[in-house]
């Protein structure tokens, strides 16, 4: 409770309250996340359960009763009779799930590698940092595409749809670990030179546990900022990959996949199949980005 009241009185929260952009972005993000979490409860139908679908509902216009069945769908339906509103909610789920998981993965991987590099030093350090540098020469999307391509090549065709989501998380996570590694490595190097490390080694004990206690608070701030921005990037990356057809499959579509499907119906006039998922992605990407931007500026000691 004290921590909460401390936070509410802090400079950070004051700045947050004063910035209309940050507040709106936060509210939108929270709304979207909650909708995704409670999708099964909010959505009028589960669009991926073939049993609940009625093909006659296909191509219903938003808000108008269907000419065959008389059912009304708030945002219309697609060619299979799936309620667009429901597909968006479930799609949000996938988008957010992949985004969060990928960032978690990148954070853990990066931190561990950074820790190893900083602590062990020597050749291991050089090798890890070299790989990081090489990887940084190429845009993340390319790295993710490559990993996805290789994974696809290795997986037998029948399993491809099932593992797609996990490969996606792996690909995006692997393309983003470097920044985390750098921060953690830096902090580890600082700690490594301190006296208690030498002392512990002299006694024959491993100083790692104590080091972690010091490293963690130092890296928390920067890691948080990197994580928020990474989240925004991961969500966009996932949407892009899904849109390109190398991400979430139509059986478990994310917002990106929905947009891809929707693009096919643009010229035949069923604009809603594209428009609403696109607007949702717009809102999500924008608010997470704005939040991350604001956080980075707020935590930047130079601008204070």
């Amino acid at each position: 409770m004290e921590a909460v009241s401390n936070f509410l009185a802090s400079d950070l929260f004051y700045r947050f309250r004063k910035s209309p952009v940050a507040v709106v972005a936060f509210i939108v993000t929270a709304l979207l996340v909650l909708s995704a979490l409670f999708a099964p409860l909010i959505a009028p139908q589960n669009p991926f359960d073939p049993g609940s679908l009625n093909l006659m509902n296909g191509f219903s216009k938003p808000g108008e009763p269907n000419q065959f069945t008389g059912e009304t769908f708030m945002l219309g339906t697609d060619d299979q009779g799936r309620d667009v509103f429901s597909t968006i909610l479930y799609g949000l789920r996938i988008s957010l799930f992949v985004g969060f998981s990928a960032v978690m993965f990148a954070m853990v991987l990066g931190s561990v590698l950074g820790l190893i590099a900083g602590y062990t030093g020597g050749r291991t350090d050089t090798i890890i940092m070299r790989i990081a540098d090489i990887q940084l020469t190429f845009p993340a999307i390319l790295v993710a595409l490559l990993i996805f391509g290789i994974a696809k090549g290795i997986t037998p065709p029948s399993y491809r749809n099932e593992v797609a989501i996990w490969v996606l998380i792996l690909a995006i996570g692997l393309s983003d670990w470097v920044q985390f590694a750098r921060v953690v490595r830096g902090a580890t190097l600082v700690e490594r030179n301190k006296e208690y490390v030498q002392a512990a080694k002299l006694i024959g004990r491993k100083p790692m546990a104590i080091m972690l206690k010091h490293i963690l608070p130092n890296t928390l701030g920067p890691v948080l900022v990197i994580a928020t921005i990474s989240l925004a990037l991961a969500i966009i990356a996932e949407a892009t990959l899904s849109f390109l057809g190398v991400g979430a499959p139509p059986t478990q579509p994310s917002l990106g996949t929905l947009i891809r499907i929707g693009q096919g119906f643009l010229f035949s006039g069923e604009y809603w199949i594209l428009l609403y998922p696109a607007l949702t992605l717009l809102a999500l990407a924008l608010s997470v980005n704005l939040l991350g931007d604001w956080l980075r500026d707020a935590l930047n000691p130079k601008l204070k």
């Binding site: 090489i134 020469t137 190429f138 845009p139 999307i141 390319l142 595409l145 490559l146 996805f148 391509g149 290789i150 696809k152 090549g153 290795i154 925004a232 966009i236 949407a239 892009t240 849109f243 390109l244 057809g245 190398v246 990106g256 947009i259 693009q263 643009l266 010229f267 604009y271 594209l274 428009l275 696109a278 992605l281 717009l282 990407a285 924008l286 997470v288 980005n289 704005l290 931007d293």
Partner: protein
């Protein structure tokens, strides 16, 4: 200075070799090249023959070297899907990507630098704030979404511009260009804006941030204290100091345009090497994937190298230091 150049060149070569290794490994271990070439009706003798032909029975390092040798000579294998030499396919589709990338880069640089300087100088003006807020959108939105929205507004609703393809092209020698036809010019507008927008907003924000930093420095303050005109300070001093560090990052950004072309080409069905790469992934066409990977890597590594060396040429501190050390 020379030592630095040599070191960088060696680094670049090392990176390329690594990438080559990855590409080669893809070839060897992902999917079965023999199977892809032979199809269903094959005998053991056929398999052995092809394996020998492809050199698959040689030791790994030998295969690797042969692979590199082939690549350097322009022999990048045969596409699994199209059955044609990969180098031929790439040469066919390269002009589309290069023209698109060129126009996008131009847009990005001109507007990026221009708007960056403008929003830094007129920092608190309404226009500047408006541009900055809109730019936030440009950076936050995925490229494909921008493309789709542009298509929706300009192609579907207004019908002014085409929503896919390259229009009519004219062949000059080996190069097919879309610049010489009206439909070609119309067709490149939306894709170029889509591709360039992200880079443009990045460059703009970078230039603005850098310029604001520069305007806060002591030497600018001293310049003001000497009574220099605002124009002299902004465009004489601040601009030059801003552009020097910006050039490096900009160079790298422009390089990545060719990679991001993948997305734009997919949205607009633009027949370039990016779309080729995506299709290759769909169909697990390893030779094309590997070839694209290697080409892109060469391009990136070269751009990185050039930009690094360029930095030396521009900043008098670096070159003077280097030559001083040489004494």
């Amino acid at each position: 200075m020379l030592a630095y150049v040599i070191r960088r060149v060696f680094q670049s070569i090392f990176v390329l070799l690594m990438v080559g290794l990855v590409a080669f490994s893809m070839f060897r271990f992902v999917g079965d090249p023999v199977e892809n070439l032979l199809g269903q009706e094959r005998t053991q003798a056929d398999i052995e023959r092809v394996r020998d032909q492809l050199g698959l029975n040689d030791p790994f390092p030998v295969q690797y070297i042969k692979f590199l040798g082939n690549a350097l000579q322009g022999n990048l294998g045969v596409s699994y899907r199209q059955g044609r030499p990969v180098s031929e396919i790439i040469a066919e589709r390269a002009p589309a990507t290069l023209e698109l990338a060129g126009v996008s880069a131009l847009l990005a640089i001109v507007f990026g630098v221009g708007l960056g300087v403008f929003t830094a100088i007129r920092r608190d003006g309404f226009m500047a704030n408006f541009i900055m807020t809109t730019s936030l959108i440009g950076v936050s939105l995925p490229t494909f979404l921008i493309g789709i929205l542009l298509i929706y507004v300009f192609a579907v609703e207004l019908g002014w511009l085409p929503s896919f393809g390259r229009g009519d092209t004219v062949k000059i020698g080996w190069w097919s260009t879309g610049f010489l036809t009206e439909s070609g010019l119309k067709a490149i507008i939306l894709p170029a804006i889509t591709l360039g927008l992200y880079q443009m907003t990045l460059i703009m924000r970078l230039v603005r941030a850098e310029m604001l930093e520069v305007l806060r420095t002591d030497y600018i303050k001293f310049a003001r204290a000497r009574g220099l005109s605002t124009r002299a300070i902004n465009f004489g001093h601040a601009l030059k100091n801003t552009l020097v560090p910006v050039i490096t990052v900009t160079g790298l950004q422009i390089g990545s345009i060719i990679a991001f072309a993948i997305i734009t080409e997919t949205v607009f069905q633009w027949p370039g090497v990016g779309l080729l790469f995506i299709n290759a992934i769909q169909f697990v066409d390893i030779p094309v994937m590997a070839a694209y990977l290697m080409l892109i890597s060469v391009m990136f590594v070269m751009i990185n190298l050039i930009v690094d060396l360029l930095y030396f040429a521009i900043d008098p501190r670096l070159s003077a230091d280097a030559s001083a050390r040489g004494h």
